[in-house]
């Protein structure tokens, strides 16, 4: 069953049309990413789907309770982390789960006032606030922006845990490595339209399998391009053997998600 269905979503700001009729669905329990270059309409799409922004035409159906972590979020500077979580929980008539508080490290921050928190700690707090509604669907807009490596790894682990609990997660991100490692499916926005929707693997297939093979020998390094990795590798091994050249290393680069994304985003894929 689909957790979110978006049909013909259109949105303009004055004479500038940002969304030109988006159609997509998000399946229950999956991690779905919205990708696009700056100005592609990711945040507008998210905010229209979240109900925070009105749209001109089309429709959005959401099946389940939502929790939202915004890209730019703030809280009163003198509120303590735990007080914010309690306030939101009480307002939503929920009890913050101990596991969630521990996992996000909110207890360690309990006594710190908002202005004393680092960027990463603020991100964790806002994720905790989004979770106080015990949502079925969680929206995360650039969840790891501004985080250091440790914070990023920790947040990725949290997101995986939430998925394991059956939550549907929709995220907008610029980080291709994050998208590749976390997401089940991705949608790429280009000029207000969905240019691609599918799994990260399907994205690679869509733009074509262009492998780059680097062979290192005593004589030096040589590079080869291939669309059929199996046949090319076999042929190369035979060729070097016949020449009597010993291979010290072989590298196969299948092209990063980032490269595939750029092709689609530029309309080349």
């Amino acid at each position: 069953m689909d957790a979110i269905q978006v049909r013909g979503l259109k949105k303009s700001y004055g004479s500038h049309t940002v969304l030109k009729g988006l159609d997509f669905c998000v399946r229950q329990g999956e991690i779905f990413a919205l990708l696009g270059v700056n100005g592609a309409g990711k945040t507008t799409t998210l905010e229209c789907v979240e109900g925070l922004r009105s749209y001109d035409s089309g429709g959005v159906s959401i099946h389940g309770k939502t929790g939202i972590q915004l890209q730019s979020a703030s809280m009163p500077e003198h509120i303590r982390a735990m007080e914010a979580v309690r306030l939101f929980s009480k307002w939503n008539k929920t009890v913050p789960a101990d596991g969630m508080l521990d996992a996000l490290g909110i207890r360690e921050l309990a006594k710190k006032q908002y202005y004393q928190l680092s960027t990463g700690q603020k991100r964790r707090l806002h994720l905790a606030l989004a979770l106080t509604r015990d949502p079925d669907i969680l929206f995360l807009d650039e969840p790891t922006a501004g985080l250091d490596v440790e914070g990023r790894v920790s947040l990725h682990a949290q997101i995986r845990k939430l998925k394991a609990q059956g939550k549907t997660i929709v995220l907008a991100s610029h980080d291709m490595a994050e998208v590749e490692s976390l997401c089940d499916r991705i949608a790429i926005l280009n000029e207000g339209r969905i240019a691609f929707i599918g799994t990260p693997l399907q994205l690679g297939e869509r733009v074509g399998k262009h492998y780059r093979i680097t062979v290192q020998t005593e004589a030096g390094t040589e590079e080869y391009a291939s669309e059929n990795i199996g046949e090319t590798l076999l042929a190369l091994l035979v060729q070097y053997r016949e020449k009597g050249v010993s291979i010290s290393d072989i590298k196969v680069d299948r092209g990063s998600l980032e490269q595939h994304f750029m092709k689609i985003a530029k309309g080349e894929g």
Binding site: E50, A73, M75, H78, E83, F88, K90, W91, A130
Partner: protein, 237 residues
């Protein structure tokens, strides 16, 4: 209701942690009282008859007009309102809780002035303390409602401070607490009547209640409540 009371207590605590509110609601009014109270009663001994009221009008105007708007701009001028809206917390909560907390702080400050003025400066206690505290509550409410309009209408902290001062200064200068309003040029005297301080001061110093003095405050309150409602709806959009 539990969430509301928790929010109210939390706002009260946050206001105590905030140095800005402590300065505008307690430090400056009490310091003003300590210095000006001495000067007023030394220069004009009869000032002691209305010292509690004049110092209270200054303190409440200062705390409300200068102290409250920045807290509202923090919530409604930035990203806090989006976080509230996104996660099921009603937008009016920030406005109601900050007003409630400021009301309590300003009332406490006024009680401190009421208790300190007689022993320190030999000030006279209002004839009818019961009525005095009722009119004080009305004056605080109206001052906060005007401050709320500023906090909701202006989105920028620097501009808010400027607008607050532009309202606060004439409010105090024309209120009659420094010198009788009747001594002012007619135009300025008339201009002073659009500010709550004039009516609040009169209401708290009059020996007999006159509805004509309360009416302008009620009208100001009604206008401010409607305007705040419209501004809050606009913020939500």
């Amino acid at each position: 209701m539990e969430a509301f009371f928790y929010g109210a207590a939390l706002q009260w605590k946050m206001d105590i942690r905030s140095k800005t509110l402590l300065i505008t609601c307690y430090a400056v009014p009490l310091l003003f009282f300590a210095i000006m109270g001495g000067i007023f009663t030394a220069v004009m001994p009869e000032a002691g008859k209305t010292l509690i009221q004049s110092m209270t009008v200054f303190g409440v105007s200062m705390g409300a007009l200068i102290g409250l708007p920045p807290s509202l701009v923090e919530i409604y001028g930035g990203d806090i309102k989006k976080v509230y809206k996104a996660n099921g917390v009603p937008l009016y909560l920030g406005l109601v809780l900050t007003n409630l907390s400021a009301f309590v702080h300003l009332f406490i400050m006024s009680v401190l002035l009421y208790l300190a003025a007689p022993p320190v400066f030999d000030a006279a206690i209002p004839e009818n303390p019961g009525a005095y505290f009722i009119w004080l509550a009305v004056f605080i409410l109206v001052s906060l409602s005007i401050a709320s309009m500023i906090g909701l209408a202006v989105k920028d902290q620097a501009k808010t401070s400027m607008v607050s001062i532009l309202v606060f200064l004439p409010s105090i200068m024309l209120s009659g607490i420094m010198f009788p309003a009747e001594l002012l040029p007619k135009g300025l005297e008339a201009a002073g009547r659009i500010f709550p301080a004039v009516w609040g001061y009169r209401l708290m110093t009059e020996s007999a209640f006159q509805f004509a003095t309360l009416l302008p405050l009620l009208l100001l309150l009604a206008i401010a409540v409607v305007v705040c409602g419209i501004l809050l709806r606009k913020v939500g959009e």
